[in-house]
């Protein structure tokens, strides 16, 4: 019973972070129907930005969140203006290979600069032992990361659904030509979608740094989870990304506890394949 409760809590907390990791993928796909294969590398850049700022300046890791957010915002927006908008003019295959190439480029650039070593933070507000709540254990870093993830997620949800800028993003997503007729600068909206996608995954990366190793290929691991999350939630659906994040988090922890840690990934992919077969549009896709 205690294990069940601990696993559920841990799964939901992890799920909130997974949702934030997937959010940017959903935003970018939602606004322009393009899959950003370099998304995991954006996460990795966010992690290094947080790690290096925290260790270099002996700073509290949580205070590095804005640093990661800004760097990844620029990375996202830069990718759009320097690469993606040219890819859009080419065929579908060029778009796929284009962001795939960006992924390889960023990953091996990181490898060249930082080397292959695993790095980890040793000090910080979130880096402390688990909370024991009777027999139930709650991981302190995960709890903190989850709270901040939900806050960031909520802020983006609000931005998209309650502001004029969000309306313009939605209009661009629905019909870019018609959005142009409204006087919306659709090119800017697309750049912004990439920036926002980068910033959110950058924040997720900075949070992850509090309890996970930093290394050049770390993005691969989490981007696969993010793909499963957006597929489950429905590509482009923000609400879907959140619910799906929670579900994937639960599968992750239940799989780890009851089936065996080595099967966590297999179970997530099993879910992914089942979704693709049974409900290809995902839970909330249209």
């Amino acid at each position: 019973m205690e294990t069940l409760l601990s696993t559920t809590i841990s799964g939901l907390l992890m799920g909130m972070l997974f949702a934030l990791v997937a959010l940017g993928l959903a935003i970018i796909f939602g606004v322009m129907d393009i899959v950003n294969f370099a998304h995991g590398e954006f996460l990795m850049v966010g992690m290094y930005a947080a790690f290096l700022t925290a260790t270099g300046l002996s700073m509290e890791p949580l205070l590095t969140l804005p640093v990661s957010a800004v760097i990844c915002f620029i990375l996202g927006m830069g990718s759009y203006y320097l690469l993606v908008r040219y890819l859009l003019k080419g065929p579908m295959l060029a778009q796929l290979l284009g962001t795939f190439g960006l992924m390889i480029f960023i990953r091996y650039l990181a490898m060249a600069i930082f080397g292959p070593d695993y790095k980890t933070l040793e000090q910080g507000l979130l880096i402390r032992p688990s909370i024991n709540w009777g027999p139930v254990m709650i991981s302190y870093p995960k709890l903190g990361a989850a709270v901040i993830s939900v806050t960031a997620f909520g802020a983006v949800y609000w931005l998209i659904n309650r502001t004029r800028l969000g309306m313009a993003l939605k209009a661009t997503a629905l019909d870019v030509e018609a959005a142009g007729y409204m006087g919306i600068n659709t090119e800017k909206m697309r750049g912004l979608a990439w920036g926002l996608g980068g910033a959110t995954v950058g924040i997720a990366g900075a949070l992850l740094t509090n309890f996970y190793y930093v290394f050049p290929t770390v993005g691969l691991l989490f981007v696969m989870i993010a793909f499963a999350t957006v597929a489950l939630g429905g590509f482009g659906s923000i609400k879907g990304a959140f619910i799906a994040g929670l579900i994937i988090g639960l599968i992750w922890d239940f799989g780890g506890t009851y089936v065996g840690p080595e099967y966590k990934f297999a179970l997530i992919y099993l879910t992914y394949f089942l979704v693709i077969i049974l409900r290809p549009q995902g839970l909330f896709g249209w």
Binding site: R164, K170, A171, Y181, G183, N185
Partner: protein
Amino acid sequence: MLKVENIEVRYSGVPVIHDVSLDVNEGELISVVGANGSGKTTLLKTISGTLHPTKGSIQFDNEDITRSSTVDIVRKGITYVPEERRIFGPLSVEENLRLGAYILNDNEAIETSIEYVYGLFPILKDRRKQKGGTLSGGEQQMLAIGRGLMASPKLLMLDEPSLGLMPKLVDEMLDAVATLKGEGITILLVEQNVREALEMADRGYVLQTGRTIYNGRGRELLKTDIIKKAFLGI
């Protein structure tokens, strides 16, 4: 107010408009007619800044807008109500209208515009919370026109507002256009219903394979042989 001079427009290198000139003066209703594929939509898209001419020039309020972006052109006061309406289907009627006022920053002006559009098309007010995509064809057309009016344009361009509507609704839609003209709005209208469009227009232009072959007072154009033969079947 609007002056299009000898423009040529191409799609991936192939000219579709060869030589078109057209003037619109303040307060006028100008109708453009022509067979399918004669370049009417291309002309409106070019004025709206979605496409750019390879030759010739476009001026609006004595400013050159030949190379201006759509954003700038909307801001200068030209809105385009596209063929097939292009409503934002999953968004509500009111959200669609508010998007039409995207370039306005003044909330009061936006509310005034919304009330104006609801006054013009009361059905939109009844359906304001409904998703745009669930409206009937006629209602969607009203929404598209309403959305085009939201920014209080100086020039409203309508691309076949009666397309796909049943005859009774066609008349209603054209009546609405006449009402707008009555209120002093300058309108550039593209229509398949040649007779009605030319009867209500101050002046008309006839396009044929990307050239303006005729222009003149609306009712006089109706008497010309080319219109009689090609469009009215007389």
